[in-house]
Symmetry: C2
């Protein structure tokens, strides 16, 4: 991890661990249980939504919301909605018709543990529940419409789902950095950017703060995904809890596949530096900058 | 079609045809086009959302909303959201892992026309767009939260998706009318009931009107699905635009499979009668009653 100066650093991994415990308790409370009919799909939804994970997106909602002065109680619903959308996307991306993966977060993928029909429906239900929770759990008021619009835009074809389409289309295609960049900005970047924006919306951030947070989220998302690409090439399945080097085998367009490992590491750090720079005016405690560094320096 | 009295009848098929033209123009405007990147998924979304269809759910939003005095401009977003959710459910239900159908609305199913990955993602995107449209297209105010909560509940595991799970679990199971009833109330009933409720919510209906509309939607939904089951047994694929008698071949639990064709016809008409009875105090023009009769008497 690069150190830019000698100021005391906020504890990014500690904050993420704390946020993960908080959001897991929230999800545990808001997800239907296997005792609710039909139990099988609820078990399937829980299998994926409560699987071990970093909970990066909820952490970013809490971090940006708190940095911009949001009422803390308003952050749980946006954080939960983003984690549910993330879980839904993993369930569907792992399906045989898409990336056809057997292992995710150290456990069998949803369609392996249950079956394909259940996995498709569980993903669908996680997606609906994300939007429903925002409508149901946010207090009545003017925040819900911009929050749901932001989540919808980040999830749909201009965001995450559009990125997955571009990713599938680019398999075995020419190695073009602009194409990889467009895929990353949508496929993982859109939700990460939305996490930052939704924290800012909950804080009723003004236009310039929202613009800074948006750019921060964009650079942090890119730093995260470039690092993810690097780890896919350099880690073992045990370290990552999912199959590695499948990107390469499948002819996926990744950042290191285009520029090489060393340049990819440099680019990830540059994105993190840029994220820290644009958010600095709003980052009193230094946590948002530390999160950007953590994202580009992590080894899992 | 049964006639209960000699009063002049509202023109249900005419109203549905008019509503279909209106919602198709709305969807045409709000759906991204194949010229928007990535074009393939937008073409796929349009293939299913704009395919020929009755547009029953939007029609019910317009009919209940107008009967209860809603501002007409507030009904397009709920109507569009319901039709998008309906289209999403058809795309996913037709997938090989679910009902594995090749024909829908007289054309190849989405995964046949495009491919399986595109169909899964197009369904996902239609689902997100439904919620996003409500947040984006409704004027700022207090209607969006109850509308989105109602749509989410009707779509998720307590509604449509839960019904699809029960339907898959019941294949080749014992012929139990209570089980068929539970499946129908969720799988098709939940969205039809939600269409009526969302029209009433947009009209700021009071508690007793909302209760009447809810019971109306429930009975009308049951009348519709029992009739659908009957048509699957008695029609040709040409008449329905989809494969027929597949329910029977697949061991699906249907209403006539449990009680026989004649009793099923009687039950559909009884449900329509009950729908007309509960909504009568709010049905000045007689359109809602006529829609219930139309739904249980249609031949396509």
């Amino acid at each position: 991890m690069q150190r830019q100066n000698d100021a005391p650093r906020a504890d990014a991994p500690g904050f993420v661990a704390l946020s993960a415990r908080r959001i897991d308790a929230v999800l545990e409370r808001w997800l239907p249980t296997a005792a609710d009919v039909p139990g099988r799909i609820h078990a399937s939804m829980r299998w994926s939504a409560l699987a071990p994970g970093k909970r990066l997106r909820p952490s970013l909602v809490y971090a940006t919301g708190q940095a911009l002065g949001a009422d803390d109680a308003l952050l749980d619903a946006p954080a939960a909605a983003l984690e549910l959308i993330h879980a839904f996307s993993l369930v569907h991306d792992d399906l045989p018709a898409m990336d056809d993966d057997d292992l995710r977060r150290g456990r069998p993928t949803n369609h392996r543990q249950f079956d394909e029909a259940t996995a498709i429906l569980a993903g669908d239900a996680l997606c609906c529940l994300a939007f429903e929770l925002l409508a149901r759990e946010m207090p009545a008021g003017d925040l819900v419409q911009p929050l749901i619009a932001a989540l919808g835009e980040a999830t749909g074809t201009r965001g995450m789902i559009g990125g997955q389409v571009l990713d599938l289309l680019a398999e075995n295609g020419p190695k073009d950095l602009e194409v990889v960049r467009a895929i990353h900005l949508r496929k993982t970047g859109a939700l990460i950017r939305a996490a930052c924006c939704m924290g800012a919306i909950a804080a009723r951030a003004d236009r310039s703060a929202l613009a800074a947070v948006t750019r921060y989220g964009e650079h942090l998302g890119l730093a995260f995904q470039i690092t993810d690409d690097i780890l896919d090439e350099t880690s073992t399945a045990e370290q990552l809890g999912k199959a590695t080097r499948k990107d390469m085998e499948r002819g996926k367009l990744t950042w290191p596949a285009v520029v090489g490992l060393e340049a990819a590491r440099r680019d990830a750090h540059q994105c993190a530096d840029e994220a820290r720079r644009v958010i600095a005016p709003y980052d009193g405690g230094g946590l948002l900058g530390a999160l950007a560094d953590w994202v580009s320096g992590r080894d899992h």
